[in-house]
Subunit: 137 residues, 4 copies
């Protein structure tokens, strides 16, 4: 991966390659070495049967944020394992996932993320996640 | 939830309510008490940056299969926690997730699922997952 | 459980009932509503095959710290699920686990913990963990 | 690690090096390429505050079984991540953990295990677990 000087540009370039992210309107909100923040605006097609954000979207945001936090420091990665704790119903006009790389490594990385639902400018923590990734390039 | 005599019909009725599932073209392949099998056909917008099935889709399929396996036996559920092990790149023309309820319960259920990529009628195990769910109705 | 005014005394009383904790010499270092800190001094019988702290001890410390953090706020709990990320070889003269309750609840709680190895007064993060618990009394 | 022709002997040799396993009286019950079965007899010092098998022992047995299943096929490993689902109170005169290697690999392995409590010759599934390991030699 051609690292650019600016982590946000690096992540935006990768983000464009992921069709799922493009479909979801996923934005890179901020990025610095070891950290990344991404967001989506709610759309009805993100919902599960009772109208909350679908587990696939919850997990996808948390894992993507973890992956992007890793990319800012170690280059491209693939996830080996991720887990999600669903603390509260994920209901919001917008969702922000913030991730931190806990342990970079040459072959394996560990990151952790939090997902917030935003309603009327108030943030509520709705889910947490963690990911283990292997460095690919 | 109005339980119907037929688990497949029960799941199809819930599936219709989940806009994410409808968007993904998620089908109920089979269902029996404590088991469920769901599938999607590959579409480009399911892809991550290198064209594999996105972690959000992998996790969404595994968690949904676990939830549906629970529904066949205990009624509606919400996931508290799920985890995903990504064994191999998820590349396929079609993906099938098969879940089993390991431990039903009045308040808490445990299920496990496997995700297979299908290419030319050959199935390959690409991910495994597990979910803990609370029974809601 | 008869809650005492002081969270440390509450945890010490429970700690005495757990024979595994007594065997390990597990100490309550600090406690406040929603937080707990526990420690053990290294002994050879805690080791795995290459002399690092055994996964059973790593997981036991992280899960116990999570449980104790919950007890300070919601009463007795039983773990439904816990997970452990082993970031670095757990080698130390002493180990401290610090946990925070992320989401209390009437039936279900979520907590997170970190395990530090201590050598010559320097702390190193060696593992992280999380636990989901059901409230029992 | 000097691989012996017999997987049980290989595991017994490693088992002797782990002081925690020796303390716990951990036995290798059976082993074959990709599988391992280990057991302990209940002792009071394995208990948590209400007398069930302590989470540290539950996790230690599940993770050790996963590690031993991997050793039979890929050589020595270290765990990166493991998780435990506690399905039922772990009460028994004896406990057996059975693990299978799901995905061997040159650098990373995935395994899954089940823990059974034995009372009067009847086995009951009390916990399940999974582990991701890196191959070290």
């Amino acid at each position: 991966m051609p690292h650019t000087p600016d982590p946000i540009t690096t992540l935006q370039n990768i983000n464009k390659l992921a069709h799922f992210n493009t479909w979801a309107g996923l934005e890179i909100v901020s990025a610095s070495p070891g950290s990344a923040e991404i967001a989506i605006d709610w759309r009805e097609e993100f919902g599960q049967y009772s109208g909350f954000l679908h587990a696939g979207m919850v997990g996808g945001l948390l894992d993507t944020a973890c992956g992007f936090a890793a990319v800012t420091q170690v280059g491209l990665v693939l996830t080996s394992h991720f887990s999600v704790s669903c603390l509260r119903p994920a209901v919001g006009a917008r969702f922000i996932a913030r991730a931190k790389l806990i342990k970079p490594g040459k072959t394996q990385c560990f990151a952790r993320a939090e997902l917030f639902a935003i309603n009327d400018d108030a943030e509520k923590l709705v889910a947490t996640g963690e990911a283990i990734m292997v460095v690919t390039g």
